[in-house]
């Protein structure tokens, strides 16, 4: 593999929290050298680079590739919605260099055998790294724990029943106790299951006007409080997949302050949209948990800024047209996001709410750290998983041009700024914009 020298880039280092002009040398699939403009001159690099391929970034941003936790791919069971091939292309085009997949497939990924099938399929078909999560309980039914040890040996990086919240607290506490003995990471979906059952929107004026079944924002806090008590009881490593309400934040803050091994994520949608965006029953805006109030959105942005919420994900959930072209209550939840994650979140950069090092701390560094991965950093020796993008380039999103098989994005027709120019996985270029 030839070395690559990316010159004249704005380097985002989320570890140091800095943004500097500079040059990066990629060699043997890793970052061999990072030279800031204010450090030793590029001439040293030029010499070392020898016959490296030169890439002039022309001032574009170079950041560690995104690690997206919680991606749904339709294999097995719903390959017409998304395959590893199409998801991989979408990820590469979106600067996502590591996909961490959800086990809520049909059947669920709950045995080492299905997990191995997934890994084989993923390695054949996807140009980016794919790391699978496995179910915490068999068939995600909340009754018996899965073979957590075997699944870890087979490569499961975390355990979750996704939106099937384990409502039996005894089952969950045992699974957590067992997971703790293996050092396994458990990912929860903090939604009180009975309060939130059947809900399509967050309760409030908008929900009442539209006459849709709604769930109180408090259901998130309640479930998080329960999980925090269980973390304290079992000592498990825990990650809350999506924290989306202001009311849940003090509980999270307290748990962290008390030294519990807890992290939290949120979704791109909850950072950039609110409940009013559903407007006249637009089902592409139906996500799980439902979109929240504007106050909640602001609080979640602030929590990303302070680092209280660690991770941002796309929660990529492909759905075909048929499952969305239904009355709102019956329509399927979820939106595709692998390809739109970065440009959509750059809205927060352009509005001055988040700077780029903070954004990539939540998109790349923190998720990699939480999963014990080497990537997510822009420093010497790290894997050369990188994204090069022009943060200012404007475009209008056309959902039919997305790489995903499913086109269910709420951002169709949205004016966005920010285009991925190139993506690299282990030093190999996996995407180049035409």
């Amino acid at each position: 593999m030839t070395d690559i020298l990316i010159q004249n880039a704005r380097l985002i280092d989320p570890e140091a929290g800095t943004e500097n002009p500079g040059t990066v040398l990629i060699s043997g699939g890793r970052i061999a050298e990072v030279m800031r403009e204010d450090g030793p001159t590029g001439a040293v690099l030029q010499k070392r680079a020898g016959k490296a391929e030169l890439v002039d970034a022309e001032g574009a941003v170079l950041a560690p590739g995104i690690v997206d936790i919680g991606v749904k791919i339709g294999e097995p069971g719903e390959r017409h919605k998304e395959s590893y091939g199409t998801a991989g292309l979408a990820a590469a085009a979106g600067g996502v260099t590591t996909i961490v997949t959800r086990p809520d497939t049909t059947p669920a990924i709950d045995t080492p055998e299905t997990l191995e099938f997934i890994r084989r399929r993923a390695n054949e078909a996807a140009p980016v790294n794919v790391l699978p999560m496995a179910a915490l309980t068999k068939a995600r039914a909340g009754r018996e724990m899965t073979e957590i040890g075997f699944l870890m040996d087979a490569g499961a990086v975390a355990f979750t029943d996704c939106d099937n919240v384990v409502s039996n607290t005894k089952v969950l506490s045992r699974a957590m106790t067992y997971a703790r003995s293996l050092g396994a990471l458990v990912m929860g979906h903090p939604q009180e299951p009975i309060l939130s059952s059947g809900a399509a929107v967050t309760s409030g004026k908008f929900a009442s006007l539209r006459g849709l079944p709604a769930v109180t924002a408090m259901a998130e806090r309640m479930a998080l409080d329960r999980d925090i008590a269980l973390i304290e009881m079992t000592g498990v490593r825990y990650h809350a997949d999506q924290i989306t309400t202001a009311r849940a934040l003090p509980a999270l803050e307290r748990a962290k302050r008390n030294g519990l091994d807890i992290t939290a994520g949120t979704s791109m949608h909850h950072l950039t949209l609110n409940e009013m965006d559903v407007a006249d029953y637009r089902t592409f805006f139906k996500v799980k948990p439902p979109l929240r109030s504007e106050d909640d959105r602001q609080a979640v942005i602030e929590a990303i800024r302070t680092g209280l919420i660690d991770i941002i994900g796309s929660f990529h959930t492909p759905q075909d047209e048929e499952s969305k072209r239904l009355p709102y209550e019956e329509a399927a939840s979820g939106a595709v996001g692998l390809e739109t994650l970065l440009p959509v979140l750059l809205r927060l950069y352009h509005s001055g709410e988040l700077d780029l090092p903070t954004l990539f701390r939540a998109l790349s560094l923190n998720p990699a750290r939480r999963l014990g991965l080497e990537c997510g950093r822009l420093s010497k020796g790290a894997p050369a998983d990188l994204v090069l993008f022009d943060p200012d380039k404007p475009f209008v999103l056309d959902r039919f041009k997305l790489q995903s098989k499913s086109k269910n994005t709420p951002f169709d027709g949205a004016r966005l700024q920010g285009k991925v120019l190139r993506s690299y996985v282990a030093g190999k270029e996996v995407f180049k914009s035409s």
């Binding site: 929900a207 006459g211 849709l212 029953y281 072209r325 239904l326 209550e329």
Partner: protein
Amino acid sequence: MRFDQRHLLGIEPLRPDEITAILDLADQYVSLGRRRDKHANALAGLTQINMFFENSTRTQASFELAGKRLGADVMNMAMQASSVKKGETLIDTAMTLNAMHPDLLVVRHPQSGAADLLAQKVHCAVLNAGDGRHEHPTQALLDALTIRRAKGRLHRLNIAICGDIAHSRVARSNILLLHKMENRIRLVGPPTLMPAGIESFGVEVYDDMKRGLEGVDVVMMLRLQKERMDGGFIPSEREYYHRYGLDAEKLSFAAEDAIVMHPGPMNRGVEIDGTLADDINRSVIQDQVEMGVAVRMAAMDLLARNLRARPTEVMA
């Protein structure tokens, strides 16, 4: 006065002058309905399809009669019995009907937003005859007409809406309409039957019915669905009747000339006392039914005028 709507999906998108336009025309149709010869030809040559995905006797009959009095070809489709049972989606059904080139599509559906969804997919004018817990615009319009005729005006009245507000599309449409026309609205009922965020609707909320009815000009009762009666939302039918059923004693707190309304069908002895419902000095429940036909004639007439004014886009 102008009416600029292409569909009648709810009260929410209507302007106050559009509401007045419908009511003014409906007044004329009330007179027509009282004549021996009840025919007009405003909808002559047009096809009206009534698609009811939910049981309804009154509303469907009212729309059917309204269409027939105006000369439309009216077709009723009882959708519970049809291909919906065979797994056909709402959109597929709509596309099939659309191919028959209807001009007016009247829809009732158990899901909120179903009428909006249909309106996006078909070429004709869609009238919402009730979608889930969302809206029931013609009911609110007929209630408005009833009030306007009984009280001589439709503004600056004190109006109490009582009962199961949370699950009622009738309540939503009425709140929106009466609010747009600048009335003072009180909602009366147990807190378990109040929708979330109700404080921000510009209404006053009471859980004590006598205080809620104090001095009001209009008492609108809502039907309490059977499935909400035991244990889930209220303790029992009899406790509900005791606290929220309208009887002569509770009504005595309202203004002396207050009128009593109910969208029907009534649960006598649950939300309203039977004798009171039949008291012609107070109850305007029969008038509501009459106004229903007139208001639906007016709404369809106005939509048809807008339909005819547009170049035909589907005939090619």
